[in-house]
Amino acid sequence: MPTSRRRFLQQTGISAAAAHFATNLPSLALGAESTNRQRLVFVFSPNGVIPDHFWPEVDKKQGESEMEFKRILKPLKPFRDQTVTMHGLCNQIQGDGDGHMRGIGCLLTGVELFPGDIQGGSDTPAGWSQGISIDQFLKNQLQADPRTRTRFGSLEFGVMVPDRADTWTRMSYSGPNQPVAPIDNPYKMFDKLYGQAKNRELLASVLDDLSDDFRTLEKMVSVEDRHLLQQHQALVRKVEKDLQVELAAKSDAIGHAVPELPPNVEDQNDNMPQITRMQTELLVNSFAADFARIASFQITNSVGNAKLRWLDIDEGHHALSHEPDSNEDSYEKLIKINTWYCEQVAHLAKRLQETPEPGGEGSMLDHTTIVWTNELGKGNSHTRNNIPFVLVGGGLGIRGNRAIDFKRTPHNRFLMTLAERMGFPQETFGNPDFCGDGVLTGV
């Protein structure tokens, strides 16, 4: 492990304070290794948006303008230079399933759902997606190459995803009929990321107390029997010693700075802001430790009905999203809700920006692209035209400060663009009928 990199991470750790300190010393980021990592995060929020307060105006002739931050996107303003809105991308996948189901099930897969028995509010019933999603596809590609292989490849975060597996709650697929469940409990995600290390620490903390036990009980047995107990005690002491060495080495090493989560946060609607923050920290941490280069971050689910009470909104999100635009009260609430989601994306961007790229130049945001998306273009029409795709960050090398209009382009071409920008160009992705013209032009 090159010293500079190690020193660098020791400095940054994961705490905001340390990261802040490190960003003021950009030279530290110039380690010997320049790995040029590329990362992608798909952030999902549900039920469409209020287009008029979301999409920037775009010059019709040019098909592109400078970014303009309307109400909903305002939280992203600090990231202007790395933000792109992509109007005009349409999820045109037909077939089985209602709008919400196809909205999420075809969003990252670009292919139809299987026939099945899950009946939505309209259309025919459906099952799972017929193909792999772009995040899992890219993960497989990265994992196939030792130079880009990471411990997990991809991580699937969730926030308040209902505890049931159905077409509305799954965005990611590792193959046909193989939905990938997001982990929406930060403690569970923590266990997945650091469980082993945590268990070692726990073990280390009990060993000393065990020795006392042995000393007490030794007195109860005969001389012959004491031998086994003494052997056992010696073993405990040896494990204790080994663990001390192991843990000391670990806390020196990179990527093992274990973040601290606030205790006893229950999986409840009202804890959503806190859970989102916790998951964000874990995501940034696992990227810093290079546990994965692909992630999804699914806040609730398609048709998500979270009640954003902390915004003084008592109705469920999905119920509100069905209200006509003429209902000013709900219209306003939906703008607030969408803005809150945008704040979460902005916070993630901020945390990535605050964290210097390990072993590379600039911040982690410079090497990461956040793709913020949604299953619908607009809630009350259930349209899957103009899916709100917003890119933040420099992972894909797409120039920021742009509002682009692709004018009714199948979103499959966007998925192909993601693959190409990650270094894995594809002839098609998902249903080939929607891939005819190749990757997006003008990106």
Binding site: D117, I118, H232, L235, V236, P263
Partner: protein, 830 residues
């Protein structure tokens, strides 16, 4: 060959020179070909001449005069002179010449003959006749015989840690203490099979919608589009396009191991297993082409795991496809099959621990696992099991506990302390006592703010403590607690966790022998005992799910995995039906003229394996109505001789193409007659049938083991093994081997020098059933397997007393188990 059956108090034989022979044969001591050889010769020669002088110098008149003491004294002099240089002063062996101790069970006569013929090695003529008799008498009395060893080194109880199985079982019962321990008695197994099923038409759950309520023996349905029907096939009023069906109950696990559960369904369903909140399979969404769901699970023998399947046929816009569902499994060593009814129990079943950690194997020197040593691998496995337990405790036990105590209104914090105290108390085998638990709880709560972490910390401390890991470290507990600790350990490999038992401990009603016997009687009839007993029999018969019993496909076409799987069920089923029948008769076990059969076995093994007409097998004591798919076979006293001729055992003790009378003989000598065989000193490859086309298997064995040095042991081994020659390498009864008739005559010479001759396996079985020697061997094996301590540690005459009691009870195996548990719980012996 597998485990030796040395009594636990015998020193473990050194294996310095022994190479376990492929044929399980036993050779006499062979001189080491090393540099010391010449030296040894010279030395021995010198000693020999000296010895003659010495013997001559002694009083020749005193020998052979019938005074055993004088004879032994003379023998001692000769031994010191001629034998001690190689065998050591008290027969303990010497590093350079003969490292193994002189111990065994040959009679004085046999020893004298052996010495006359072979000793001293370099000059067998140097010690013959009366000299040899004197030496034999001396060593037999001084250190060779079992009695001498007992005299010399009174066996003691040794402290042991939990074995892997004991750890697994103890954790299971610790978990179940909170959830409720399910007791599955033999009657329950016979009476309660299948899963409880409810079928509803449409979407509703009300009484009107419920069209069928019944117990389904197995889950294997093709409802097509007509939907579920009544048992007689008539319409139940269920709409095949829109209905929901629910099965719930438990899965009986009889043997610890890895199981694969398989649900196949074209319909939406979910399956919870182990705990209501643990969804094993979530197929809430039915998606075309996704019809098979396999899950691999490590499950514990003697435990019942709750299972719940909820199936939902949803009406679709357009065409609704037909619905179907089946529940199958692959048990350890088995093949895929629909999960049989007798492995299912209908109705509510409490949650059960799913522990994935596999413990490393324990010491098996004496033929049963014992916890006599600790090492890092074991320690790591304990940690892993403890953490796994802690995780389940925090996500299942604690939330359930909270729910159960909702009305207590003592506050979450106090409730947590109470929960932890109860958990620590059961794990540490004592009554709840907040003061005693304080140390652990304070440490855990001080170390973490998070409740889950506090629970995990406390549990890790609890389970890594010697208080949990050493079950008999309990001198400071009450007499009742200590008795219950031992009886639970003996019968269930576990700790007292059942609520009713904890109450009896609290009442202190288990302290006296009657109380302990009553407890043992109650605990013996339990799936946990059955699981341990089954394991004991597997050890005894050396059969394991891991055995590769494939044989030559040309010679034995059709002997495939499915036949082997049926044989396993047949053997296990046979043992169960004998042991758990009213009579529980050991003699049936080794000599019954029937077995359990299946259609597949009847096809393969022919007429003697046909199912008997139930009308004609009215033997009230043994019925097999519990075992689905299996039936009692017709009686045939030549083909069926209890477990001794069961094809699984016969195939295990056989080569790829031929039988192995040596393996079979060694098994019978050691395991059935309880005799001691020294391990062979050299590896031998059995003579190839191709090189001796004119010889039968028996003749080849006789040829190969004909040297005198081999005959020391093979004169015991071969005649027993030959008696099973009617059973080929797959256990098929035969009267010819190729074009030569089978000679299945055999014999045995007992410890009392009684000669018995067998015409066939039937005579052998009848002898094993009635021989006190075999009965005593069985009692000792049972005792040591269950208690994991030498029986002599509970009194020098304990084996004799217990064997007598066994005979008085009509050789009742269950009663024997109860007595074993009672003896193991006697306080004065600890």
């Amino acid at each position: 060959m597998g485990d030796a059956t040395y009594p636990a108090f015998l020193p473990r034989l050194r294996k310095v020179r022994s190479v376990v022979c492929d044929d399980g044969c036993c050779g006499k001591c062979v001189m080491k070909l090393n540099l010391f050889l010449l030296h040894a010769f010279v030395l021995a020669f010198a000693i020999c001449s000296l010895a003659h002088h010495a013997v001559i110098g002694a009083e020749p008149a005193s020998r052979g005069s019938g005074d055993p003491e004088a004879m032994r004294a003379a023998g001692a002099v000769i031994f010191d002179a001629q034998c001690a240089s190689c065998h050591g002063e008290s027969g303990q062996g010497t590093e350079d010449y003969f490292p193994d101790p002189l111990t065994g069970d040959a009679s004085i006569g046999e020893l004298a003959e052996l010495i006359t013929d072979t000793m001293p090695e370099e000059d067998p003529d140097a010690c013959v006749g009366p000299d040899a008799e004197a030496v034999a008498a001396y060593i037999h009395h001084a250190f060779y015989s079992e009695a001498a060893q007992l005299r010399n080194r009174p066996p003691q109880l040794a402290l042991q840690r939990l074995t892997g199985d004991q750890l697994r079982s103890s954790l299971s019962d610790l978990y179940s203490h909170f959830a409720q321990i399910h007791r599955d008695r033999w009657e329950d197994l016979k009476a309660n099979q299948g899963l409880e099923a409810r079928y509803y038409t449409g979407k509703k759950w009300d009484e009107e919608a419920q069209k069928i309520a019944r117990t389904d023996p197995v889950v294997d349905f093709d409802f097509e589009l007509h939907g579920p029907q009544k048992a007689d096939g008539s319409d139940a009023g269920i709409d095949g396009e829109e209905f929901h069906a629910h099965w719930h109950g438990g899965v009986r696990i009889e043997e610890t191991g890895r199981y694969e559960l398989i649900v196949r369904s074209t319909t939406s369903f979910t399956c919870a297993f182990g705990h209501n909140d643990d969804q094993l399979i979530d197929n809430h969404v039915q998606s075309e082409g996704r019809n098979e769901f396999r899950r691999s699970l490590m499950l514990t023998g003697g435990r019942m795991y709750p299972i719940k399947i909820d199936m939902n046929q949803r009406k679709r816009k357009g065409e609704t496809p037909p619905s179907s569902i089946s529940l199958s499994w692959v048990p350890p060593g088995g093949v895929e099959e629909i999960l049989p009814a007798h492995h299912l129990m209908p109705g509510w079943v409490p949650p059960a621990l799913r522990l994935e950690t596999q413990m490393p194997p324990d010491d098996r020197t004496y033929g049963f696992p014992r916890g006599i040593s600790v090492d890092p691998v074991w320690d790591e496995a304990v940690t892993s099991a403890a953490i796994e337990f802690a995780d389940l405790a925090s996500v299942e036990l604690w939330p359930d506990y909270l729910k159960q105590h909702k009305k207590d209104k003592i506050g979450r914090k106090k409730l947590l302390l109470q929960f932890l105290d109860e958990l620590i108390a059961v794990a540490h085998r004592r009554a709840p006592d907040p003061a005693a638990s304080k140390g652990i709880i304070d440490t855990a709560t001080a170390a973490h703010e998070d409740e889950t972490e506090q629970i995990r910390h406390a549990i890790l401390l609890t389970l890594k403590s010697p208080r949990f890991l050493y079950p008999t470290l309990d001198v400071d507990r009450t007499a009742s607690q200590r008795a219950a600790n031992r009886i639970s350990l003996t019968l269930h490999d576990s700790l007292p966790g059942d609520d009713w038992m904890l109450r009896r401990i609290e009442e202190d009603s288990i302290a006296d022998e009657d109380g302990r016997r009553a407890l043992a009687r109650k605990l013996v009839d339990d799936a946990r005992t059955r699981a341990k007993l089954r394991e004991m029999f597997h050890h005894w018969l050396e059969v394991s799910p891991a055995d590769d019993l494939r044989k030559d496909e040309e010679l034995f076409p059709g002997f495939d995995a499915a036949v082997v799987a049926d044989l396993r069920q047949s053997l296990d089923g046979f043992i169960d039906s004998v042991v758990w029948s009213e009579a529980s008769d050991y003699r049936q076990l080794v000599a019954a003229d029937w077995t359990l059969t299946t259609p597949r076995l009847a096809d393969f093994y022919g007429e003697p394996w046909q199912a008997a007409d139930p009308e004609q097998t009215s033997e009230a004591s043994i019925t097999v109505d519990w075992a689905n798919g299996m039936a009692r076979s017709v009686a045939d006293e030549q083909v069926h001789v209890g477990v001794l001729t069961h094809p699984l055992v016969m195939a295990k003790f056989a080569h790829h193409r031929t039988t192995s009378p040596i393996h079979r003989g060694v098994f019978l000598v050691r395991h059935v007659m309880g005799r001691v065989l020294r391990p062979p000193n050299e590896a031998f490859t059995p003579l190839s049938p191709d090189l001796h086309p004119d010889l039968t298997t028996r003749q080849r064995v006789e040829l190969q083991t004909s040297p005198e040095s081999c005959q020391i042991c093979h004169s015991k081994i071969n005649p027993l093994g030959f008696a099973l020659e009617n059973f080929d390498a797959v256990g098929h009864y035969r009267i010819m081997e190729g074009d030569r008739p089978i000679d299945a005559t055999g014999g045995y010479s007992s410890r009392q020098d009684e000669e018995v001759a067998f015409q066939s396996a039937r005579d052998l079985g009848d002898y094993v059933a009635t021989s006190p020697e075999a009965q005593s061997a069985f009692v000792e094996r049972m005792f040591q397997y269950f208690v994991k301590q030498p029986i002599a540690a509970f009194g020098a005459d304990q084996l004799e007393t217990l064997t007598e009691r066994f005979a008085q009870s009509g050789f009742n195996i269950r009663e024997l188990l109860i007595e074993i548990a009672v003896i193991s719980s006697r306080q004065e012996s600890h």
